[in-house]
């Protein structure tokens, strides 16, 4: 007797230990990310920073390095958590914001806004004076729109056909790419710089003020998704069983797509396209902490942040004084991984 209670307690304990370890790792790597850069700081410099002796150093740390680390943590967390939720929703470890059009939809939204938005009388002037509020909104709209379209296309008799989902994702991404390319030809120099920046992905422009806005989006999205972790667990048995267990599956699907778009749309508006974080992180963590949604999401949030922070530290130092786009690094790690997942479930994907 009391087996159940003991098992639940043990699961909780394991989760707590892993999450605590990840939290410590997050802090350590965040410190490392702040110290390491094209001009590497020593611990002695760090001490002088705390006493405030060196103004240049203080600015470098607090205005450039630290916001960038924070942005990496927010972005990595948002992408990894979205990956978790989407994979349970689609019942497949291949679902990810980059693959189902959420990210490229966000770019579409932003590019459209930057290019045409300013021409619209009232909207244009607000866009110009408060881009930090409007760009996320545009990105969210594009992300949700394209994500929903891919999802609709993938439905076959009420169930998601994974083969069609991947193909629809490719089509959506290709369309978004072509659309962006077309608009680039229409863009002026200044707009062009902004647009190319998005398609490569970089944490270069991190600023405390935008971090706060993005942090709010990600925090709200993550908390709301955590509230749905029970439903997402049940969804792993398929939609039919979820209905039998009292889940309003139609509502959950819309909610999850909406929340992932809410998190990743605005993020993409600022850091551009960073792929594969949502694919790699949840998969590895499932092996460590198990597939139960709540612990998995929390661990993914932290690990996604650590992963992106490490990638960024690498990106800004490896070809210093120049810098690699971070999307290049995540893709270099992510694509072999994606291929591996694809091969592993070859049979299931057959159309």
């Amino acid at each position: 007797m009391d087996k159940t209670k003991a098992l639940v307690a043990r699961q909780k304990k394991k989760t707590n230990i892993i999450c605590f370890a990840l939290l410590i790792a997050t802090v350590l790597f965040a410190m490392a990310g702040t110290l390491i850069g094209p001009a590497t700081l020593s611990v002695v410099d760090f001490q002088s920073l705390l006493t405030g002796e060196n103004q240049l150093l203080t600015d470098l740390i607090w205005k450039i390095r630290f916001p960038r680390v924070i942005l990496a943590l927010i972005t990595g967390g948002a992408l990894a958590v979205s990956g978790c939720a989407l994979q349970n929703l689609f019942n497949n470890p291949l679902a990810d914001t980059g693959l189902i059009g959420i990210s490229s939809g966000a770019v579409m939204g932003v590019v459209t806004g930057v290019l045409f938005g300013k021409a619209i009388p009232v909207f244009g002037s607000i866009l110009e004076s408060h881009p930090q509020y409007f760009l996320p909104l545009l990105a969210f709209t594009g992300a949700f729109g394209l994500g929903l379209l891919v999802y609709r296309l993938a439905l076959q008799g009420g169930k998601v056909n994974i083969g069609i989902m991947l193909l629809a994702g490719i089509a959506a991404n290709a369309f978004a790419g072509a659309y962006t390319g077309l608009l680039i030809n229409l863009a002026n120099d200044e707009q062009l710089r902004t647009i190319t920046f998005w398609s490569l992905g970089s944490l270069n422009g991190a600023e405390p003020s935008t971090n706060i806005i993005l942090g709010c989006f990600v925090l709200v999205g993550t908390l709301m998704l955590l509230r749905r972790s029970g439903e997402l667990d049940v969804m792993t048995m398929g939609e039919r069983e979820a209905v039998y267990l009292g889940v309003d599956t139609g509502k959950i699907k819309k909610e999850v797509l909406l929340l992932t778009a809410l998190m990743c749309g605005p993020i993409t508006a600022y850091v551009g396209l960073i792929g594969f974080v949502g694919l790699v992180i949840p998969h590895i963590l499932r092996m460590v902490i198990g597939p139960k949604m709540k612990p998995l999401m929390i661990a993914s949030f932290l690990s996604g942040g650590i992963f992106l922070n490490l990638s960024d530290t690498f990106a800004k130092t490896v070809v210093a004084p120049s810098e690699l786009p971070i999307g290049v690094i995540t893709a270099l790690i992510g694509t072999p991984f994606f291929t591996y997942l694809l091969l592993k479930q070859k049979r299931r994907i057959s159309l």
Binding site: K5, N88, G230, D233, E241, Y244, L245, G290
Partner: protein, 255 residues
């Protein structure tokens, strides 16, 4: 308990169910039989609230079924085969049975404990579901539906719906499962709706049998009324001899 009023179900170009009217009493054991493609599974999915009939309506305890918000607390469904896409443990799956009753309290954990004992699942608890054999999976899913129905003190007003639940089981486990359900029905007044291919199990367990053919209800009544040599020839195309067993239930011998 459950009443259907003229329910039909159409898919483009085809009628799956046509104008079904019947009622299932509280605490009764109901078997649905018929050849493949007769519409049995569709009917069960409608009774379970998964599909909405194209015409007509289903009443559950005199309320329209589709409008009952806490339906999952009142009826559990065991499907034929349930894949789980990630490696959740047996224990996680069992606990899902309590999902409709969330937030969970220590009572819920005790219910799950009870089911683990009853179905002897102790050794499997931490095994990932995808590693289980077909029979083990189905035993776990059966446990999960029982967890959903708990507590067993009063099951009147609750329904267990089963769609071919036994195909993955060895004969001994088939018997164990059916006896378990039968006991819940006779002692605790649980209502049961069941699809089975094995007509003898149906005859032995059920007190009410519905025979479907091409989406229409052809016969309904007590097993001894439905299972006659003539009916079995007419609706299943099989030669049989019927003998009554010591419980006065017809036993079908295939010739």
């Amino acid at each position: 308990m459950i009443e259907t009023r003229g329910i039909s179900f159409d898919v483009p170009g085809k009628t799956i169910l046509n104008d079904l009217n019947f009622s299932l009493k509280k605490g009764s054991f109901n078997g649905i039989i018929g050849k493949n493609g007769a519409g049995k599974s569709t009917l069960i999915q409608i009774l379970a609230g998964l599909k909405e009939p194209t015409k007509g309506e289903v009443l559950y305890q005199d309320l329209p079924l589709m409008k009952i918000s806490d339906l999952a607390q009142k009826r559990a469904v065991l499907s034929q085969e349930i894949p789980v896409s990630f490696g959740l443990s047996v224990f996680d799956i069992l606990l899902m049975g309590r999902f409709p009753h969330r937030p969970l309290s220590s009572n819920d954990f005790e219910f799950v404990d009870q089911i683990i004992e009853e179905l002897h699942l102790q050794d499997l608890l931490e095994t990932p579901y995808p590693h289980l054999s077909g029979g083990e999976r189905q035993r776990v899913q059966f446990g999960r539906t029982l967890c959903q129905l708990m507590p067993f003190d009063d099951l009147s007003g609750k329904t267990l719906i089963l769609d071919e639940p036994l195909s993955a089981f060895d004969l001994s486990i088939q018997q164990m499962v059916l006896k378990f359900i039968k006991r819940l029905q006779t002692e605790k007044n649980l209502t049961v709706v069941l699809i089975l291919h094995d007509l003898n199990w149906i005859s032995n367990c059920c007190d009410h049998v519905l025979l479907l053919e091409k989406g229409e209800l052809q016969l309904e009544g007590r097993p001894e009324m439905v299972f006659t040599v003539e009916n079995l020839k007419k609706y299943f195309g099989i030669e049989t001899r019927i003998i009554l067993n010591d419980k006065e239930k017809p036993n079908i011998i295939y010739l």
